[in-house]
Amino acid sequence: MTARTIAAGKGAATARRPVPWSKLAWVTLRQRRGLLIGGGILLGVFAVYMVVMAVIQNNAYAAVAACHLAAALTCQQLVNSFRSSYWGGGAGPVIASGGAQTVSSLLFAIPVLLGAFAGAPLLARELESGTFRFAWTQGAGRTRWAVSTLALPAVVLLAATGAFTGIFYWYFRPFLADGQVSEMLPLGFALLGVAFAAWTLLAYSVAAFLGTLLRRTVPAMAVTLVVYIALALATATALRPHYATPVTVRGWNNGGVWVISQWVKAPDGQALSQPAVNSLAQHLPASVQNSPSPDAFTNWLTQHGYTLWQSIQPNSRFWQFQLTEGAWLLGVSALLIAATVWLVRRREA
């Protein structure tokens, strides 16, 4: 009895010093070792490939960039050869099939994969296997345990995906400089700036929250996938174009810029409806209709007093858009993680 009283007294004296975060961090990292290795390999393989390709592409593009005042035809051939060799999508050499277009599209899937695999099992596996009854009755208490379990992988994911974005930018830079793609278009936007890390964090938070709510790892991953795809599509098509009022410019850009809409104005200043434009296109002189040049129709329009207009989001708004998107994704993720901690606190065994 005496021994117990002393022990309890000692405990009361140290009650103000909870288990330090560094110890909890060890617990979290040890339990997520598999994830760290798996995620590291996934990102590492892509990173090594991209570093190698970045060196090759940047060298190849240096030759293209050096060739501006030289004979136009030679330069055009260089550009075309660069595009078909490294961007892909054309009937170029073998490397084209695995060109930057394909690789970038694959990278699109990484945030949701990484996030779902990292986030869904955090709580779901504890609840599935009953080990939460162990974890939540230790001296650290369940709230501290939950904060460590949720926050540390989030920080590691942000750091890893942030670093990955740096490598990706180096790899992708020649295509931006070439003007063939715009960093504002969905493919580039999602993989550059803060978006790649922010979307990974969002997938992670959704998965962690759903894992706690559904108490099952695999269903949580599946629902995360659905939620993520829906949200990513809605953002790219309905939300992102409205981060700032588009700019109206005269003339039609071909590639390299994010066009929201485009229209033709008649010589009297009236905007033409789409059927009106179509009807114009069908009643062109044969010389224009049969012309091999893709610009034949627009050239004919401008020659006859029509004006071409576009509503665009200029590339100069890249960081404004990135930070807008990063901010709301971070906010939603923080709310989801807070909600997950709340679920853990009120969860009954």
Binding site: M1, T131, T137
Partner: protein, 246 residues
């Protein structure tokens, strides 16, 4: 110090009361056998005592007035849930290290010595241990936290007879050696009869009998099993008597 004190404690899961009107004082310094048929509310009572579940009605305090689940209570209660859940993918060594990092109070030497005596290799994965070894590991971790109260929910259910014997011997040794109060539940009184110094009989969510074993024996003038059986029957309709008598 009373290790667990309840007043009109109740817990309802949807429409069913798992525990109702439970008023109970468990004094310290005992090995308490919490006995009752499956579904009697034993696990419900114990999970509330360790702070995993909140009461629907009434009050419950532990270790002389601490609210369950509070830092003070968590620090001094070693709990082993049914089936001794531990991380199966971790080696024993890392499981110990993990538990050590989740607690302020920890006696690493004692844990390693115990595992050495039990011949449980530190490098073995928890998932590869036998049922008896796993239960012993869970007990080792709970004891390494130097608790004032040890709560064991159905610790013997999954063990073979030899492992049961060893496990109970370890519990008795800890209780005697360190002055730890122990509460363990079982649906089989026979296996706790020899070690229990305090008995609580629970059926259908209500306490039927509670008291120190010597007092119960002298007051009822019968064997402990007989006394318990009588009180188990009192709370159970005749149709389910066979189950209660297990």
């Amino acid at each position: 110090m009373d290790v667990i004190e309840t007043s009109e404690l109740g817990k309802r899961y949807r429409r069913r009361w798992a525990l109702r009107d439970c008023t109970l004082t468990i004094p310290g310094g005992h090995i308490v056998a919490l006995v009752g048929p499956n579904g009697a509310g034993k696990t419900t009572l114990l999970t509330m005592a360790v702070g995993l579940t909140r009461p629907t009605a009434g009050t419950l305090t532990v270790l002389g007035g601490e609210p369950p689940g509070s830092p003070g209570a968590l620090d001094h209660i070693g709990f082993v849930a049914q089936d001794a859940p531990l991380y199966r993918n971790l080696p024993v060594e890392d499981m110990l290290h993990l538990a050590r990092n989740l607690n302020r109070r920890w006696d690493q030497r004692r844990a390693e010595d115990r595992l050495g005596q039990l011949e449980i290799p530190l490098s073995q994965k928890v998932g590869e241990l036998s049922g008896g070894q796993k239960a012993q590991l869970a007990l080792t971790i709970a004891l390494a936290r130097r608790p004032a109260l040890l709560v064991l929910d159905e610790p013997l259910a999954a063990l073979d007879p030899v492992a049961r014997e060893d496990f109970l011997a370890a519990v008795v040794a800890a209780a005697a050696g360190d002055g730890i109060s122990v509460v363990l539940s079982s649906h089989v009184l026979a296996e706790l009869e020899r070690v229990a110094t305090y008995l609580i009989v629970l059926t259908r969510g209500q306490v039927r009998l509670s008291g120190p074993v010597p007092e119960l024996l002298s007051a009822h003038g019968a064997g402990l099993e007989e006394i318990a059986l009588r009180h188990l029957r009192a709370g159970v309709p005749s149709s389910s008597r066979t189950e209660a008598g297990q």
